[in-house]
Symmetry: C2
């Protein structure tokens, strides 16, 4: 993006600011006039700043801000996956089978797309270890109920989803529309998808390959 | 980063290229001379390109390239986690316990930090489901042996690690130094860490908050 000379100037300002245009020119063995357009570019890009009688200052890394701006523009709805949903009366055993059949790490429990709970590979492994008969155990005895669940809405930033995945130490979040409260004044959550660390890893790859902007 | 007028010019060029400076000036109700510095900036940033007798062309999105450049600069060694290692004679049951105690989804199997294999939550859930006695079953009967393993080296790009996680559909890769071959001409892999979709999700958050550059 910057020319080699602009990078050199940027480094000089970074290390020696405040520094006058005269001194920069002297170090590059060119005239002050020869530097005018490069200094104008660096100033307009917000990478350096000129202050009267002092010279040029380095004003920080705008590249980081740009990266942050691109990433914060990505919405959950543009990178979610299809949910895998089992009924509330499914056995824990059949929930594991759905997990392996669909090759997901997290299964949602619900009726008519209304979220009742979430069950993860970790929940089921813990249950299996407890010598439970998974075929006789209803999945709702193992799941995290929706009242305790962390979720994300489709219009939220993928960055927010990633922060929640990290903060609550879960592999996957339900993506839901929050509907009006039901007769017992509980929020109803309509399942529209799921977003996992796998989706975020795919986003990272897409950004790294220049396929997101 | 760009001024409002520069963004406007960029949009005009994007939609109407090739377009002459004269025509851009007419649409903005300014003189050609008033646009000179803005056009110079956009050209030097590589966002537009001027061709004699034709005018200005839009030359693509350099922001994407910049994002890709920042991400490709991140090395595995700057974002790996500590490995959790159990001995080859550990039982599958004790491997699950290590997994829960250390709160990881993947445990490495090895002796003296030389990788023998990897066992995941998914492997152990599948084994538990098969009505096996996990306490009597050595973890090496369940693990993926190192000869079939995908790994990553510390100096490789985090982007490459993320691509391997996606391509091989695993949650975690061992980070290893590849040592000289042993007497049976097998590569020896010295464990130095692990990198998982959790690490990549954390990187994504750091990039999105402007904490990586």
């Amino acid at each position: 993006m910057l020319s080699e000379r602009q990078e050199t100037i940027l480094n000089i300002v970074k290390e020696q600011s405040p520094i006058t245009g005269q001194h920069i020119a002297a170090q590059l063995h060119v005239t002050r006039a020869a530097l005018r357009s490069d200094l104008a570019i660096l100033t307009m890009l917000g990478l350096i700043d000129a202050r009267p009688k002092l010279g040029y200052f380095f004003t920080g890394n705008k590249e980081k801000d740009l990266l942050a701006r691109i990433i914060t523009n990505i919405r959950v709805e543009s990178c979610l996956s299809q949910p895998v949903i089992v009924g509330e009366h499914t056995s824990a055993y059949d929930a594991v089978i759905a997990m392996f059949t669909e090759d997901v790490g997290t299964v949602f429990v619900g009726t008519d797309n209304i979220l009742a709970g979430v069950v993860s590979r970790k929940d089921l492994l813990k249950t299996a270890l407890g010598n439970n008969d998974l075929k006789a155990l209803p999945v709702r005895m193992v799941m995290t109920p929706s009242s305790k669940l962390i979720y994300v809405e489709p219009q939220e930033q993928a960055l927010v989803a990633a922060q929640r995945l990290m903060e609550y130490e879960v592999d996957c979040l339900p993506v839901v529309h929050v509907l009006d409260r039901d007769e017992e004044d509980r929020k109803e959550l309509q399942i529209v998808g799921r977003i996992s660390k796998t989706n975020i890893t795919r986003l990272f790859v897409e950004c790294g390959l220049g396929r997101r902007s």
